[in-house]
């Protein structure tokens, strides 16, 4: 696969290294001369100095035959514009952009960037998981459908212990997909499954209803 990476900072450099190891053909475009020289020294001649938002530079970089385009600079506007150029001017099938300010995720999606990755959100989620009292852990976002997969743990003295799934006031459109209980084999709950303390429940929810789901499962 031919992959073009815009931005040779920490993210761009380590991404290039990982993708080269997997045997992909790639090119990094970096504005800074010293950084370009550093990457070429470390990884071989896979880095060219240039502005990834300039159509002429992209043309020279062979954007027309790229299978994938990844913009990982520290500036959201640069990432957005270069991905749009790749998509609309060079018809690159898959564009991926790093979003630094989580607020910009919406506009990136609206403008047709295939994947918008918010580094800030990912770090937040990872730290969230480490906070033991946090009621809901985000496992995965299913962006196209506006759904998310979360994990909720039933606290030891919850009012919902001993209740069956059908007795719980689950918000509409939410599905409990898996229960992990102690050392048992994880199982798919049905409406008669009785909740126990320390159950870990994997559920499919939406950003709007996740709080209601948390309350329904953990009691008040």
């Amino acid at each position: 696969m031919y992959i073009i990476i815009i931005g040779g900072g920490q993210v761009g450099y380590f991404l290039a290294k990982a993708l080269l190891d997997e045997g992909h053909e790639l090119l990094v475009l970096e504005k800074d001369a010293a950084r370009t020289a550093f990457i070429c020294n470390e990884l071989g001649s896979v880095c060219v100095r240039g502005d990834g938002c300039e159509m002429a530079t992209l043309e020279e970089a062979g954007a027309g035959r790229a299978d994938m385009f990844v913009a990982v600079t520290g500036d959201d506007e640069d990432n957005l514009v270069s991905c749009q150029a790749a998509k609309h001017k060079f018809n690159v099938p898959r564009t991926v952009a790093r979003v630094n300010n989580p607020k910009n995720e919406t506009i990136f999606r609206k403008m047709g960037i295939d994947v918008a990755i918010s580094s800030t959100n990912i770090i937040l989620e990872n730290i969230e998981e480490e906070v033991p009292t946090h009621p809901i852990t985000h496992l995965l976002d299913i962006q196209e459908q506006g759904l998310e997969i979360v994990e909720i743990k039933i606290p030891p003295h919850s009012t919902t212990i001993g209740k069956t799934v059908k007795e719980l006031p689950l918000p509409a459109g939410n599905t409990l997909s898996l229960i992990i209980r102690g050392q048992q084999k994880p199982f798919v709950p049905d409406e008669d499954t009785v909740l126990e303390a320390e159950d870990q429940i994997v559920a499919i929810t939406t950003p709007e209803s996740e709080e209601a789901l948390g309350t329904a499962l953990r009691g008040s």
Binding site: C53, D75, V81, Q84, A85, H88, K103, N104, K110, M111
Partner: protein, 142 residues
């Protein structure tokens, strides 16, 4: 007309003054409040310190009720991104964008943003001025 302008440079400041003078309701955003020195002393609109690519700053400037949004910062990409936010998130009816790079102007023009490239316009103007015949008065003087 309610207009939000992003970037209070020479062009932004001057445009804000002109529109304000004609009785339009103008809000102008800039990252640095020192830039507001460029506004005429009688400017009666709103000058706000804020980033025009930030939705909250745009809301403060009244983007939700604006009839037009104009991006005039030094950065082409910043201008383009702000215009796309204004157009696609806040549904501002008219969105105008300065893009120095003619190729970027072409691309984003085709994606529905009214973009102007001062590079193209100015180069053309200078060329015409240079190559047009000298005025009669000047010829006689020689």
């Amino acid at each position: 007309m309610k207009v939000v302008i992003m970037g209070c440079g020479r062009v932004g400041g001057r445009l804000a003054g002109l529109l304000d003078d004609e009785g339009h309701k103008v809000a102008i955003l800039d990252l640095d409040d020192y830039s507001f020195r460029r506004l005429p002393p009688e400017f009666g609109g709103t000058a706000l310190v804020g980033n025009g690519t930030d939705e909250d700053a745009l809301k403060k400037a009244g983007i939700e009720k604006a009839d037009a949004f104009i991006a005039l910062t030094q950065g082409d990409n910043r201008n383009i991104m702000a215009c796309q936010i204004a157009k696609h998130i806040f549904n501002v009816p008219r969105v105008l964008c300065r893009t120095y790079d003619p190729l970027r102007r072409e691309l984003f023009g085709s994606l529905g943003i009214e973009a102007f490239s001062p590079t193209t316009i100015f180069a053309q103007m200078i060329k015409e001025q240079l190559l047009k015949e000298k005025p009669e008065a000047e010829k006689k003087a020689k």
